[in-house]
């Protein structure tokens, strides 16, 4: 046994590594999008891929998102595994018809004879000082579209594992990459990157007995910080990182809530008709008699994403999470 160097990597680097490993392992994996080739993407996630695998494997496309996703459909029909980059969340909207009407439905339409193994990478969420249209949380749209898998990593290791799993999946997967975690770091062993994570499994990031924080993506670090702070107030919070929004891991989530009896859903996306509504509703359906209080939601406001100078007021932070925890009707028991 040799000792191996364990060095820190950012989430962006982990994503790059996942793409590179997938491309090396499978010649049918093709990356396409705006600026993904020569530039390596505006977040540098595709850095070096065109140089290593050639422009035919990592291709700068014309500037047209429906065209990118639409041609990816055709490529997948012919046996390739396209990985599409949408440059920013709001710039995926022009591709919605292709996504909803074709990508999500082709397998079903053809009774399984024409699956579309397409990965759609979407940098999402705010907190990076982006101007209008650069900070949307669009997960509600994807979640409401049957036929898509939707995953979102919160750690460097999951970024690698989930992206590999997405590319390996025979079904379309939307990978929501939390922009403000692109530069978050963790140590890992580049000789032996973490494994492929199964899609559809949540993970308990912190165990606790008082209440469960159900969260994902950019709000995971916020919840972990809130859980630390809550300790001072006497609350021992469990934090569940969903990782996969579709399929939803009812098992892990409900096991936690049944244990703690209280839950808060935390996300950056708007509240109304956002992911939290679904999560609160299904947890309540399944754990009603275990609940000491209604499942509460801490979310972005129901407004267009704010300009950079005002975004801090919008983003759910530690205080807002703690305020919600405080409203979990502690007088009622436990």
């Amino acid at each position: 046994m040799t000792t191996v160097a364990v060095k820190p990597a950012t989430m962006a680097q982990a994503l790059t590594r996942a793409l590179r490993d997938a491309m090396a392992a499978d010649p049918t994996v093709h990356v396409l999008g705006e600026d993904v080739g020569t530039l390596g993407g505006v977040f540098r996630v595709t850095d070096g891929l065109a140089a290593e695998f050639g422009e035919d494997r990592c291709t700068d496309t014309p500037l047209a998102e429906a065209g990118i996703l639409g041609t990816a459909v055709g490529m997948a029909m012919y046996g390739l595994r396209p990985v599409v980059e949408m440059q920013f969340d709001a710039f995926a909207y022009p591709a919605f018809e292709q996504l909803i009407s074709h990508v999500a439905r082709m397998r079903n339409r053809t009774r399984g004879s024409m699956p579309l193994p397409i990965t759609v990478r979407v940098p999402y969420g705010g907190g990076i000082g982006g101007v209008e249209h650069h900070s949307d949380s669009s997960e509600a749209y994807y979640m409401a579209t049957p036929g898509l898998h939707v995953v979102t990593p919160a750690t460097v290791a999951d970024a690698y594992g989930l992206l590999r799993a997405a590319i390996a999946s025979d079904d379309p997967v939307v990978v929501l990459e939390p922009k403000r975690l692109y530069w978050s770091k963790d140590t890992w062993n580049p000789e032996d990157p973490p494994g492929v994570e199964p899609i559809g499994r949540a993970v308990v990031r912190r165990t606790g007995r008082s209440a469960t924080l159900i969260t994902y993506g950019p709000s995971v670090p916020v919840c972990l910080e809130a859980a630390e702070a809550a300790q001072a107030e006497g609350w021992d919070l469990e934090v569940v990182d969903l990782r996969s929004l579709v399929p939803f891991d009812d098992e892990t989530v409900c096991a936690s809530v049944r244990r703690t009896g209280r839950a808060v859903v935390v996300h950056e996306s708007g509240s109304f008709a956002g992911p939290g509504g679904e999560i609160a509703a299904r947890v309540t359906e399944r754990c009603f008699h275990h609940l000491e209080a209604p499942v509460l939601r801490v979310a972005g406001f129901d407004i267009p994403y704010p300009p950079p100078m005002l975004e801090r007021h919008h983003l759910p932070g530690v205080d807002r999470v703690l305020d919600a925890v405080a409203r979990l009707q502690w007088e009622a028991g436990n």
Partner: protein
């Protein structure tokens, strides 16, 4: 050399070397639609091809008539007829090699059938038992596409993928005049030209998008003129002249296969029937217009040519008619049987593996159906 490097496109290099790399003139269509039948060009067309086209046109017309009849009997949910457009439908199918791919719209079941898809399977979408009735890989026919123009980028992507894999496969994509107004039309043609993908775009300009006439759809000299804006050749052809459509598409397919990139073909034709059986065409057009076009019927044009060249005896006519009737009888008989339905299909193909959520919903429906059966007993 990568595919990207093979492309030819202009760059705005610094002045004064501004000249476009591509000469636009060869990209422009002729002013008049290209015709073969009844012209000197007809002599170039092999009699075998003309006779093959003839048999298919007769069969295609019979298919349209039969499918329309099936809507009246409630055996089809809806049928968008291609009566009057058979020359385009048939030529599009015949011009392709086995390894090529066809991308039809909802109106192009006939093209799928002419390419070998079982008519019953081609009509599954319109009968309503499932969204697609055939395995697209079997005859290399993509599922019929309803959202307008969205099939065009698919064709480009498939053709590009084939080229990357080293296969000399061509994709032929069909779209209507109305469909050319959609953003996806633009994006698909642009990708195809930039990638020099082996695609042929066939626009069937049948004069209308439901009720909307071409004059409200475009102010262009012709739809084929759009090609130059992508740097690909545009061709204008008489869409009721089967030999002309076959020739123009054939050339485009050969160019694409040889690495010469995409072509946009506009075939000028006319939709003789209403948009679908559910449409009332009298609300937006007069009978006189339809009648003029009937005189330019694709079967009529071909029969005239064949007769003039002494190629059409009664036996040939009869054998075409017989084949068409056999097809129609078989179609009628099979469509009059109830479709085999399995409600569990609703859940089983959404994903490779149903999600836990879908398994729950599947179990719910299964239980309901069992209770229903129970009750029925």
């Amino acid at each position: 050399m990568t595919v990207m490097e093979q492309r030819g496109a202009y760059r705005p290099t610094p002045p004064p070397a501004w000249q476009p790399r591509t000469d636009p003139v060869p990209l422009l269509p002729d002013a008049d639609p290209y015709r073969v039948l009844g012209t000197e060009a007809a002599a170039r067309t092999a009699p075998e091809l003309l006779l093959r086209l003839y048999a298919q046109l007769v069969r295609g017309r019979r298919y349209n008539v039969q499918a329309t009849a099936l809507t009246k009997q409630g055996r089809l949910a809806v049928y968008p007829s291609s009566t009057g457009q058979e020359a385009c439908e048939v030529a599009a199918a015949l011009v392709l090699e086995e390894r090529d791919w066809l991308f039809p719209s909802y109106r192009d079941t006939l093209a799928a059938v002419a390419r070998g898809v079982d008519p019953v399977e081609a009509l599954t979408l319109l009968r309503g038992d499932w969204h697609t009735g055939y395995d697209p890989h079997e005859h290399r026919v993509a599922p019929l596409c309803t959202p307008l123009a969205t099939q065009l980028p698919h064709a480009v992507g498939l053709a590009h993928a084939a080229r990357l894999k080293g296969d000399d496969v061509v994709a032929l994509a069909m779209v209507g005049d109305g469909g050319t107004s959609e953003g996806d039309f633009h994006e698909a043609l642009n990708f195809a030209a930039v990638w020099q993908a082996p695609v042929v775009f066939l626009v069937q300009n049948n004069g209308f998008a439901i009720s909307v006439p071409l004059a409200k759809q475009t102010a262009a000299p012709s739809l084929a003129h759009k090609a130059v804006g992508y740097g690909m050749p545009g061709r204008l052809v008489d869409g009721n002249d089967a030999a002309a459509v076959h020739e123009v598409l054939g050339e485009a397919v050969r160019t694409a296969r040889a690495g010469g990139g995409p072509t946009l073909v506009e075939a000028v034709t006319y939709r003789i029937d209403a948009h679908t059986n559910a449409d009332d065409a009298t609300r937006y057009r007069g009978d006189a217009e339809v009648e003029t076009w009937r005189e330019h019927d694709p079967i009529l044009l071909l029969e005239r040519e064949l007769t003039a060249r002494g190629l059409l005896d009664e036996e040939t006519r009869q054998s075409a008619r017989d084949a068409a009737e056999t097809m129609a009888a078989d179609l009628r008989a099979r469509m009059n049987q109830d479709a085999a339905l399995d409600p569990m299909d609703l859940f089983d193909h959404v994903y490779a593996e149903p999600t836990p959520q879908l398994r729950e919903q599947r179990a719910l429906l299964r239980a309901e159906l069992e209770a229903e059966e129970e009750g029925a007993r």
